[in-house]
Every structure is written in structure tokens, then in C-alpha cells.
């Protein structure tokens, strides 16, 4: 199957290829990480990344920015939404808008103080349960270590929206983590 790849590039030349290889290929892990957290499935994530990389290769000439990772992640995200759901990313916003989920933070409960002890599996479940507009900002921020500006560019949102979504994502995660496994732990003590 890799043997077929050499016919894909429509207008290849070696410098362009070398640039693509040097700038875009190092972002493959980042692309897959985002795709995997959006798709929540290995096979789907591979399809998304494969398609996104082909698009990136096709449109590489239009990349003039300084950060190939941000550029590629935006393509991955768009690819995911076009491949996986027929609904455009924009329509997912309504259910989440500001009034629907006001910040309810009653301050730290004793349970949340043991957050550090949360295992990877529990965190993964909690992350996967987040709605995708919240999940993508938290993945971009915490796993990809993107700045707000970069997240805003990737998700085509305003920085203010990024900030409030990130706040809501963390509050939801905190609530999830405080409720589920910690009950058990407290009874143990």
C-alpha cells in the first residue's frame, strides 16, 4: 500500500517534497493524537489522519505560515468533522453556549484534592465523555500544549471562546473525576 503513494502528489518537486517532509511529517504524532481524541477510535483516527495528510500534501503550496503543526491540526480537525459527521463544526456550538453551561464551581471539595491520584484510565474516560468542542480545546491545550492563540487558529474560534471553553472543560472534568472513583476511595478510608 505505501507503494501507491508516489502517484498522489499532483505537482511534486524535490524541494517542495523536502519541505513537506521536514515541516509536516514531524507533526504526524500531533495529528494522530488530535484525531484519536476526536474520533475516539483507532481505525477512524487513522482514516482521518491519512485523509488529512493527503489534503495537506495537496494544499501544501498554500501553507505560508510559520507553524506547520497549527496548520496541520486545523486540517485534521476539519477532516474529522467532514468525514465523521455531516454536521459542520459550527452547529455543535449551540448546545454548549454560554448560558446553557454556566460555570458552577462550588470551590474545591475534599475529593478533588486527590485528583493527582487519578489513573490514566479514569482520566481517559472522563475526557472521552466531554462533548467534542470541549474535548478538542482541552486536548490541544493539555496534550499538545498549544497556546490560546494557536487553539483559536486551529478551531476557528475567538480567543475568548477558547478561554471559556477551556474553563468549562476543566470544570466538567473536575466534576467527573470527583464523582466517580473518589466515592469508592472515601469509603475505603
Amino acid at each position: 500500500m505505501p507503494a501507491d503513494l508516489h502517484v498522489i502528489s499532483p505537482n511534486p518537486d524535490s524541494v517542495r517534497s523536502a519541505r513537506f517532509e521536514a515541516l509536516v511529517l514531524p507533526c504526524l504524532d500531533a495529528a494522530y493524537n488530535l484525531a484519536r481524541w476526536l474520533a475516539r477510535d483507532n481505525a477512524d483516527a487513522q482514516d482521518v489522519v491519512q485523509e488529512a495528510m493527503l489534503r495537506a500534501l495537496r494544499y501544501f503550496d498554500s501553507f505560508h505560515g510559520s507553524d506547520a503543526r497549527v496548520w496541520l491540526l486545523a486540517i485534521v480537525r476539519n477532516t474529522f468533522y467532514t468525514l465523521r459527521t455531516k454536521t459542520p463544526p459550527g452547529s455543535l456550538h449551540e448546545s454548549l453556549d454560554e448560558d446553557a453551561h454556566t460555570l458552577v464551581d462550588g470551590g474545591p471539595s475534599p475529593e478533588t484534592l486527590t485528583l493527582l491520584a487519578v489513573d490514566v484510565g479514569t482520566l481517559q474516560l472522563a475526557l472521552e465523555r466531554l462533548p467534542s468542542p470541549l474535548r478538542e480545546v482541552i486536548v490541544l491545550r493539555e496534550l499538545e500544549e498549544c497556546s490560546y492563540k494557536e487553539i483559536a487558529a486551529i478551531t476557528e474560534q475567538k480567543i475568548g471562546t477558547v478561554m471559556s471553553r477551556l474553563a468549562r472543560a476543566r470544570e466538567r472534568l473536575k466534576a467527573e473525576l470527583a464523582h466517580h472513583p473518589k466515592e469508592v476511595r472515601r469509603h475505603d478510608v
Partner: protein, 263 residues
């Protein structure tokens, strides 16, 4: 600042996204309000928990192999048919060769040909240099002080890199980074020449190695040399003359007995 404001801004504060004035207000509020301070603490812990490497999903090998120009040793079998095809591609069309360069291991063989005795290390060094210029990839340790940069490498490498500040020669040291070249961990020192970045890679060599060379590719100049049991590779988009001057300055400053200069 009210607690309501702080509830949202504490996240931006955690993410280091507040400006100096807002940060100062936030620090003051966190000092005065125990509830918000506790909440800040909890979200800090949450961030740490999310930083566990187990949550990061790396690309599976199948996908990586599809897109990465594989190392020749690692993929001897699949490499052979395309390596045979490479000269044909060169003969037929440069464009077709470009596609091969991108997607097949033959690109290493190709670079060897057009490099005229060049070395895959050169191609790797250029790739690494370009990669390092992407946001947030340039430096692991940011310092203009060689006595900060050198100890930073301690325990991260199986050798002690030579670190010299060349500000006096017009090449200020700005930091260091761990990198990988030719399948091993190497030290990368980052220098500046005006607005240009120079990456200097170094790793141990066989005692006998003294090869030195200068190559130009895609607008980058690469100078390699070996001395006192170390390989050095300098990469930059500065002019070849400037990079040569940098290399001489580093060699002189490093106290190399005869300052072996590249041809």
C-alpha cells in the same frame, strides 16, 4: 477582581495567558481569597494529571511507515524495489523523482548521489534544523550563559558537550536542546547571527575521525568536522562565509590546538 472573574481567569492564569497587569491582580486575589486559591490548586493538579504521557496517542507504526521516509537499515526489504526505480525516475522526470523523494526510502540514496559523497547526516541535520525553527521546538534550555547551558545537558547525554559563548565574535549563544541525529542523542547548541539561527550539533566520534566538509542544500549551509573525538555539524541559512566564520570562531574558542579549518 471578584471571585466570578477569577473563576474564569484562573484558567488563563494557569495557562500563562494573562498579561502582566492581569497576572498581578490575579496573584493578589489568590492571596486574599482562600476559596479561589484552593480552586487554583485543584486545577493545577488536574493539569498535572492530564500531562501524563499515557494519555498522548502517538501515531501507530502503520501510519508512520506510510508517511515517513524510512531509515535504510530498518526497511531493507521494501526499499529495494523503489531503490531500483529511483534512477529511472531521475531520468524520466524531476517531478516524479520528487514524489519518490517524499514517500520512499530511496530519497536517502538520492541525496547521496546529488550530494557528491555527501552523507545522510547532512540531510538529517537540515531536517532537524528546519524542525527546530518551528514554534516551541527551538530550545529546551534558554540561556545565553554557557555555564547554565552546559550543566543542563548533564545526565541527559552520555558525553559532555563543548559549550562556548561566541558573543564576542558576533554569534551569541541563546540556548541548547536535545536532538537526535544518525540514530543517537546529540547535543544541539543554538546560536544567533543577527536574525538567523545556527544549530550546532555534536556527538562523540571515533578517535580517528577527522573528516570535514561543507555542503549547500536547499539554501542551507552545512559544515561538518570532527576533532578531539567529537563530531560537529553546523547548520544555518546564513551565508556560507558567515557559517565558516562561526565554525572557525568555535574551533578557536574551543582551544583546538591547530584550529583545523574546513576545506
Amino acid at each position: 477582581m471578584t471571585c466570578d472573574d477569577a473563576r474564569l481567569l484562573v484558567h488563563a492564569y494557569l495557562d500563562n495567558e494573562l498579561d502582566a497587569a492581569q497576572s498581578a491582580t490575579m496573584i493578589k486575589h489568590l492571596r486574599d481569597c482562600t476559596a479561589c486559591a484552593a480552586s487554583y490548586d485543584v486545577y493545577g493538579r488536574l493539569r498535572k494529571a492530564l500531562a501524563q504521557p499515557g494519555l498522548y496517542r502517538r501515531a501507530p507504526d502503520a501510519l508512520r511507515e506510510r508517511w515517513s521516509p524510512a531509515q535504510p537499515a530498518a526497511s531493507a526489504a521494501p526499499a529495494s524495489p523503489r531503490r531500483r526505480r529511483a534512477p529511472l525516475a531521475y531520468a524520466m522526470a524531476a517531478g516524479f523523482a520528487g514524489a519518490l523523494l517524499l514517500t520512499s526510502p530511496a530519497w536517502i540514496a538520492g541525496l547521496r548521489q546529488d550530494g557528491g559523497g555527501g552523507n545522510p547526516v547532512v540531510a538529517e541535520a537540515i531536517s532537524s534544523h528546519i524542525r527546530s525553527l518551528q514554534a516551541q521546538h527551538l530550545m529546551d534550555v534558554v540561556s545565553t550563559d554557557q555555564h547554565t547551558v552546559k550543566p543542563w545537558f548533564e545526565g541527559k547525554l552520555d558525553f559532555s558537550p563543548r559549550v562556548k559563548d561566541l558573543t564576542g565574535e558576533g554569534f551569541p549563544l541563546i540556548g541548547g536542546r536535545l536532538d537526535a541525529i544518525a540514530g543517537r542523542s546529540v547535543a544541539a547548541l543554538i546560536y544567533k547571527r543577527h536574525l538567523h539561527v545556527i544549530n550546532l550539533y555534536q556527538w562523540p566520534a571515533d578517535a580517528s575521525a577527522t573528516a570535514s566538509s561543507e555542503e549547500q542544500r536547499h539554501g542551507y549551509t552545512v559544515i561538518r568536522w570532527a576533532t578531539e573525538g567529537m563530531h560537529y555539524v553546523a547548520v544555518s541559512d546564513v551565508s556560507a562565509g558567515d557559517l565558516k566564520q562561526f565554525v572557525l570562531a568555535f574551533q578557536n574558542d574551543a582551544g583546538t590546538p591547530t584550529a583545523r579549518s574546513p576545506p
